[in-house]
Amino acid sequence: MTKSKIQKSRQKNKFITIFLFLLVIAICHMPYAICQSYAQDNNKLFTLTKQIIEAKTNIELYVPFEELKNVYFKDNKYTEFVEFLKSLGQKKDRLEPFTNYYMALARYYQLKYLEETQNWDEYFNNGNTYRDEFVSAIQKTIDSTMFKEPLHLYAKLILWQFHKDQEDAFAESALLDLMNTTLGYAREEQNTKPIKDVADKLSSYGEKGKSKELYRIYVQKLIGSLKEDRELENIALEFYKEENLELSEALYDAYIERIAKTYPKEKSISILTDIVKLFSYKDESPNDAFYAEKIFEKIEDIGGKEAFTEELMYLRAFNLEKVKEHIKAKDIYIDLVKCYPLTTHADEADFKVGIIYTYVVRDVNSGKTYFEKLAQKENVSPQVVSGLYQLGLLNQWEEDLAKAKEYYDKLIERAKDDFQETVTLTKERLKEIDEAKPIEYNLKTFLDVSLKEEYMMLDMSKLDLKAQPYRTKKEDNVNITSQIYLAESGCFQVELQYLWSGHIGTTKPSSSKGTFDTKYLHSGTKEVNLVVVSPTGVVDRDIVMADVY
């Protein structure tokens, strides 16, 4: 035979082999072909298998294998996928790292699926086998691939996830190994996708420090290929919309670094303002208040306090208040009123400063100054009324009942028929004075814990009170929740009492509830107080403010 004839014969044999293999696969999937969707799947399987068999390089294998996985995974056909991969792996040695990786992946998701669907029979009968198969297949992939190959990285990623899900002793070393491998890969390779994939997964598992590190590398590699600032900004915004805030922030950081060098001051401030509006605290959309404050600081560095408009300054104070950076928030609210005395937020700002001074900083006199300032205002706003209530309350707690009564009477006089929520509270206080009774227990406890010397060591760190939303319309639902950080007590349930007070709206939460839903019928800044008490004493206190419009 001539050389060309031999070559032709070899090609023919190769074609027959591929054809027969595809035929076997098609026959294997015949039952599914009865349904149209299965027929479509079979067509897809046929095409993908052909692509895999004919692929000349490993790079060409990633996409068809991933698509193949999606076909099986969407119907949770994990065992079928494993069987298919086994037969595929036998055809070509080069495919084995891929078939092993996807076998491991299938078993990993299968175990999760069995647990989620509580398919216990299969879980208990085959779980251990699946686990063994996972460990064995993933190890084979790791052993048969180089660190420069994305598959090597993905194998280590899934191995770490496996241990992390089980919270076992190997999770830490697997994470270290994954990070080292990824950093090594990043040093050598230009393909950024695997780096982002690893970072995304780390982020979703709460490994924020590690994901940030990888995102930084990813961004550095990405910006190298982007010439236009606009492109960078668009990608950053895109990730913000996808709620991948970590990556978005890393890209914005790179973008800000670029514009700082080239743009004039005004233009830079305008861009930073747009960014800070994205990230500032909002009830309804993704936000990162701490990142926002970092940008606020940048604006201040570039343009000083003059760079802040009234709205921007309010936004900064509100943002800080919501992440309980109370002292900083108070200072910005003070600046806001100083710089913009006629701001529409003036009363809200003064009231909040009064509250923070009194109940967070424990500086009653400074607090009173701001409540007094509100009380002196001619126009009656909800905060003016609340300021009078606070003055009455503080005097009542200090046992200056005459003065307290004076403030309460003034409040009722100025409120007329409005501000019923505060008026109701005021009437309760007046009744206490009239009947020579102490302040209602929950409220008095809050005042004691916030203002008495003996409770100085309680710094609001063991209790976290939140409102959702913080900014709401009248008669809309508001959810108030509390989170307590207690020392371990094992299987001993520590009985806690939740002493709610302040403007708690239409609901009267019981002392056994750490959370409640309420509504407000009148506008204003509503302070909600909480003291948590355990059998051994006061755990901590907290205060939260919701703005009702």
Partner: protein, 443 residues
């Protein structure tokens, strides 16, 4: 000289040399025999002077791996906490003297499952009855007993660990317990306390004294209490070793709370017996302990309940799922498993049978009701954490064997739950990474 004479002389010389050599060899033999005899004598003498190995002890291997040795063989504790309170009774019930001998019924079931150890929190006052139970379980089923002592944790008023009179009384009780049972072949080890350490942090059964009261800093108050408590436990351990060198002494501890203090004041503690409820696994417990207090660990209380508080129905699969996962991690951290911490000695599941009295012990009517209400909350048991108030831990449903109201020879019928079978299968063939199976083999 004639040839014959020369030959004769040569022969004589050779003979003389041979005799001389033989004499020399004889001397060497004598010296060697003497030396051998000396060595044997020395070995024998040393053996006589030193103690034989204790019946149960902890062997430290390389890399701070630890192995429990009983009767000269490695021993993995495959156990259950045992408190067989019948339906309708509460914790005051004296099962030790029950004429229907529940431990015999349970011992057989345990043996069939593969349980080799029971843990009892504190023995009954009647020494003979306790001895009988320990003896029966060991002699009939090969099941060893871990005996514990509450160290007055449930006394009223609170346990004042800094009070000398209180300390003396507890010490007397503990040493009497050890003296009474140390010679029982079925005894495995002693556990001092359970979750008493939480009292130092003031959350459960809080106590104080004048010196502690004087301290203003709450954190320092806790540390003062912890130091007092752990020092007391170490004193007990030291005294126990004096009376009974044959069994290890464990410090019972809730989680790892306070073990940094214990590491400084508890040199006489042999192992830590931890009470851990972390759901599917124990997290980094084993490594953390190694870093905090390098002692072997026995999981002396762990497990899951078999009631889904969210769906409000019995779910034995859920319990089996958690328990199997927990046992897998225990095995991964046994000695000689290269990937694990190697400091785990095994565990005692909480618990063998359900206890129907636990939900509200002040209501005797409730002792006859298998109460579905949860007593505490743990997010780690995630299947039913969405139950009202996140209360998902059903204290009356922790048994791996259910009790039926139907009586069998005077005892509530025992009905093994799913976890009984799942753990039985796991123990038969602990599924670990195949490379690690070798290290997991033991009695």
């Amino acid at each position: 000289m004639p040839v014959t004479l020369r030959v004769k002389r040569a022969k004589r010389t050779k003979r003389a040399q041979r005799t001389k050599r033989a004499k020399g060899m004889k001397k060497i033999y004598i010296v060697v025999i003497f030396l051998l005899a000396l060595v044997v004598t020395l070995i024998f003498a040393t053996g006589m002077m030193g103690r034989p190995k204790p019946g149960v002890y902890i062997k430290k291997l390389k890399d701070s791996h630890y192995q429990l040795i009983a009767n000269r063989k490695p021993y993995i504790v495959k156990g259950a906490c045992y408190n067989p309170i019948p339906i309708g009774e509460n914790h005051e019930y004296d099962w030790w003297s029950d004429p229907h001998t529940p431990w015999l019924r349970d011992g057989k079931l345990m043996q069939e499952m593969g349980v080799n150890t029971i843990r009892v929190y504190q023995p009954h006052e009647n020494i003979e009855e306790v001895r009988r139970v320990i003896h029966d379980l060991y002699a009939l089923y090969g099941i060893r007993t871990i005996l514990g002592h509450w160290l007055g944790f449930w006394e009223y008023p609170c346990p004042f660990y800094s009070d000398k009179a209180f300390q003396d009384r507890i010490k007397k009780e503990v040493l009497e317990m050890v003296a009474a049972y140390k010679d029982e072949p079925g005894i495995l080890l002693w556990i001092l306390g359970n979750e008493n350490n939480y009292s130092c942090w003031g959350r459960v059964n809080p106590w104080s004294d004048e010196e502690i009261d004087k301290e203003a800093d709450p954190q320092k108050k806790n540390l003062l209490r912890a130091k007092i408590y752990y020092t007391f436990v170490n004193d007990l351990a030291r005294e126990i070793h004096g009376v009974d060198p044959d069994h290890p002494v464990a410090l019972g501890n809730g989680e790892l709370v306070g073990l940094d203090i214990a590491s400084k004041v508890c040199p006489d503690i042999d192992l830590v017996a931890c009470i851990i409820y972390r759901g599917k696994t124990f997290g980094n417990l084993f490594q953390s302990l190694k870093a905090t207090f390098d002692r072997p660990i026995l999981l002396s209380e762990f497990g899951a309940d078999s009631y889904d508080a969210y769906k409000n129905l019995e779910d034995q699969n859920m319990q089996a799922f958690f328990l199997e996962s927990q046992w897998r991690q225990i095995y991964e951290n046994l000695a000689k498993n290269k990937k694990g911490a190697g400091n785990c000695l095994g565990g005692t599941i909480f618990e063998w049978t359900d206890e129907w009295w636990k939900h509200n012990e002040s209501d005797p009517k409730g002792y006859k009701i298998h109460n579905p209400e949860a007593g505490w909350s743990s997010g780690s048991y995630y299947f039913d954490i969405k139950a009202p108030g996140n209360m998902n831990m059903n204290e009356e449903h922790f048994g791996i064997v259910a009790l039926s109201e139907e009586l069998e020879s005077g005892l509530n019928k025992r009905i093994p739950k799913k976890s009984y079978y799942v753990i039985r299968e796991f123990w038969k063939n602990p599924n670990l990474n195949p490379k690690n199976k070798k290290g997991a083999k033991s009695r």
